[in-house]
C-alpha cells in the first residue's frame, strides 16, 4: 500500500505524463509556483520549466482555445480551470470547437486535450465557485467526461485521459483532494467506460459519482448494520458510460438509487435511470427507481444551507430504507 492523497495522485499523473511525452504540456492560471487553484501542479514548473508548465493570464477562452489549436497540431495540452464554474467562459472552445472538430472535419483532425477542473461544493465558496456542471459536457457528443472519486482512480484515469485522442473533461472534486488511498508508483491506466463496484451487495444498487461515492459507502456500512446489503457502483466515466455493470447489478438487487451532487433536475442521474428503465433490467425492479441530487437552487453561502443543498448521508440512507420497504 502506497498511500497518497487524491491531489498527489493527480500531480503524479501529470508529472509522469510530462516526463514520458514531450508533446504533453500544461497551461492554466497560476499553475506555476503557486501550483494552480488547489495545488495539483505544485513542483512541476521547477521540474519541467515554464515552456511546458505555462502559467497563463486570466483568459479562460484563450486557454481552452489555445489547447484546441495545439492539440490539432501535434501537442497534448492539459489545461486547468481553477473552478469548474469558469467553464462558462471557455465553453465555446470546448463545445463548438473541441467537441466537434473531429466529426465536422470528417475524421481528418483530432483534438487530444484534457481539461482538468475542480467541481463541487462544501467549502463555503458560494454560488459561483461550487457548482457541479459535469452533465453539461456529458451532453455534448465528442467529449469524454471523467469524474474520479478516489486517489487510485484519479491517477489511472488521468493517464488514460492524457493518452486519449479525444477531448476529455476531467472533473476533480475539491473535497476529494485531501482523501488518501492506495496509489501505485509509476504510470498505470484505467480504461474509460468501466464502472467500479466500490462495494458489493445484494439488496440495493447505489450508483454514485464524485463525492457521493464516499457518502454512499458510509450508507452501505450503516445499512449493513440494519441488515441491508448495498452495492455501490461508481461509473467513473460518464462518457463513455458502463451501463452494463449497472444493469447487471440492478438485475441482482432489483432496487436502484442514483445519487449525484449536481442539481437533480436534468442531471446525469436521469440518464442512468432512463437507461435502466429502457433495458431488460426494468423487469427486475421491485421498486420505482430513485434519484437524489442537488436541490434546484444556486449554492448558498451559509454553511447549513450549503449542506442542505446537496444529498447527505442521512438522505441517502433514508432513500435506501424507503426502497427496501417496497
Amino acid at each position: 500500500m502506497r498511500e497518497r492523497t487524491y491531489l498527489e495522485a493527480v500531480n503524479e499523473a501529470l508529472d509522469e505524463a510530462l516526463a514520458e511525452d514531450e508533446s504533453v504540456f500544461l497551461l492554466g492560471e497560476d499553475i506555476g509556483v503557486y501550483g494552480g487553484g488547489f495545488g495539483a501542479t505544485k513542483g512541476l514548473i521547477e521540474k519541467y520549466g515554464n515552456k511546458r508548465v505555462r502559467a497563463t493570464p486570466i483568459s479562460e477562452s484563450a486557454i481552452a482555445g489555445a489547447a484546441v489549436g495545439a492539440a490539432m497540431t501535434g501537442m497534448r495540452p492539459i489545461f486547468e480551470l481553477q473552478f469548474s464554474d469558469f467553464i462558462t467562459i471557455a465553453l465555446d472552445q470546448i463545445v463548438n470547437q473541441a467537441a466537434k472538430i473531429h466529426y465536422m472535419y470528417g475524421g481528418k483532425a483530432s483534438v487530444p486535450l484534457v481539461m482538468r477542473t475542480a467541481g463541487g461544493s462544501g467549502t463555503g465558496a458560494a454560488a459561483q465557485h461550487s457548482q457541479s456542471l459535469e452533465n453539461w459536457t456529458a451532453h455534448i457528443p465528442g467529449l469524454k467526461v471523467v469524474q474520479p472519486s478516489t486517489p487510485y482512480d484519479a491517477k489511472g484515469l488521468l493517464h488514460t485521459a492524457i493518452e486519449d485522442q479525444n477531448p476529455v473533461m476531467f472533473y476533480e472534486h475539491k473535497l476529494c483532494y485531501k482523501m488518501t488511498g492506495d496509489v501505485p508508483a509509476g504510470k498505470y491506466t484505467i480504461p474509460f467506460g468501466v464502472a467500479d463496484i466500490k462495494q458489493t451487495g445484494t439488496d440495493v444498487t447505489i450508483v454514485a459519482t464524485g463525492i457521493m461515492v464516499h457518502k454512499a459507502l458510509k450508507v452501505a456500512e450503516q445499512a449493513q448494520e440494519a441488515g441491508i446489503s448495498v452495492e455501490v457502483i461508481d461509473p467513473r466515466t460518464l462518457v463513455p458510460l458502463d451501463i452494463e455493470t449497472i444493469i447487471t447489478s440492478v438485475k441482482k438487487t432489483g432496487r436502484l438509487l442514483v445519487v449525484h451532487e449536481a442539481v437533480k433536475r436534468s442531471g446525469f442521474g436521469g440518464e442512468v435511470a432512463s437507461l435502466v428503465a429502457e433495458s431488460d433490467g426494468f423487469y427486475a425492479l421491485k421498486a420505482p427507481i430513485k434519484r437524489l441530487g442537488g436541490e434546484a437552487v444556486p449554492m448558498p453561502y451559509q454553511p447549513q444551507l450549503e449542506q442542505n443543498a446537496i444529498p447527505q448521508v442521512s438522505n441517502i440512507y433514508e432513500a435506501v430504507l424507503s426502497l427496501m420497504k417496497q
Binding site: 465558496a125 458560494a126 437552487v297 451559509q302 442542505n308
Partner: protein, 329 residues
Amino acid sequence: MGQSIQNKAGLTDQDFLNIYQKMWDIRLFDEKVETLFLAGKIHGTTHLSIGQEATAAGSGYLLRPTDWITSTHRGHGHSIAKNTEMNQMMAELFGRENGTNNGKGGSMHIADLDKGNLGSNGIVGAGYPIAVGAALSSQMQGKDQVTICYAGDGSTNEGSFHEALNLASIWQLPVVFFIENNQYGMSSSIKEMVNIPHLSERGAAYGIEGVTIDGNDIVAVVDATYQAIEKAKKGRGPTLIEAKTYRFKGHSKSDQRIYRTREEELHWETNHDPLQLTEKLLIQAGILTKEASQQIEANRKEAVEQAVIFAEAGTLPAASALYENVYVD
C-alpha cells in the same frame, strides 16, 4: 472648515477627514475579517483590501447614492466606500439572515442595491459588461447617473474587459473603468501577463482615454475619478483609470505568497501605505493631529467590533431560505 488640500473635485477639509475615516473602516474591517477567518469563526474564502484603501475610499466618495458601482471578489473596500453598513456586511460573512445578502452570498457576493452597489463578483472580469449595462440603462433612461466598474489588473486579460470597453466607447456610456492594479493576480505578476508598461494604454485600442495614477495617493485618486465622472456626466463617454497599488496580504486566506519577496512587501508597506500617506497629508495640511488620527482609528475599531457583535447576534436563515429567491415570485 476650509479647503487646505488642493484637488480637482473641490473637496473640503471635512471631506478629506471623511475619506480618511472610510479608509480606516476598510482597513480595520478587513483586519478583523482576517482574524475571524483564521480563528475559524467565518468560513468560505475571502480576499482582503488591506493596502488598497485609497482607491475605494477616494473614488467612492465622489459618487452619489444613485450612482452605481460594480465590484470584485476583493470588494469589501468598495462596498464600505459606497456606504454599505459594516454591520450588515459582517452579518453576511457570518451567514446571518440580516446580512446584506441574507447569508446567501458571503464575502464574494456582497451587494447593496439601495446604496448603488450592483454587487461584488466571484467571476473575474464579469463586472465589466454589467457596468456597461448599468451605464446603458442610465443613458437610455435619461438619468445622470455614473457607474464605476472596479476591477483588478489580472481581469484585463479576460475577453469581457475588451468587449465591454469597446461597447462602452461606441455608445459613449457614462462608465468609469477603475482598475486597481495591485500588480498581481492570484500569483501572477501582471508584468508577465501583459506586454505593455501600463494597463491604461489598453483604452486607446477602444478610443477610450486611459490614465495611470498612484492609487495610494488619495488626491490622485480623487482627481482622476472626478475628471472621469464629470466627463461621463457630460455624455463624453468612458474613461479607463489604472490605479497602481499593492495588496499587503495574500490573495486569499490560504496564500503563502511564494511568488513575491518579503522585501518587496516591506517596501510597499513602509513607503506606500495609503493610511500612513493620507494621515501625513492631512497632518501636513493642518487638518488633522496625530491624536485626532488615533481617535479616529479607535472609533472605527469600535465600529468594527460593534459590527461583529451585530453579526453574532443575527439569526441564521431558516431552512426554508434554501428555496427562496430562486425565482421572482
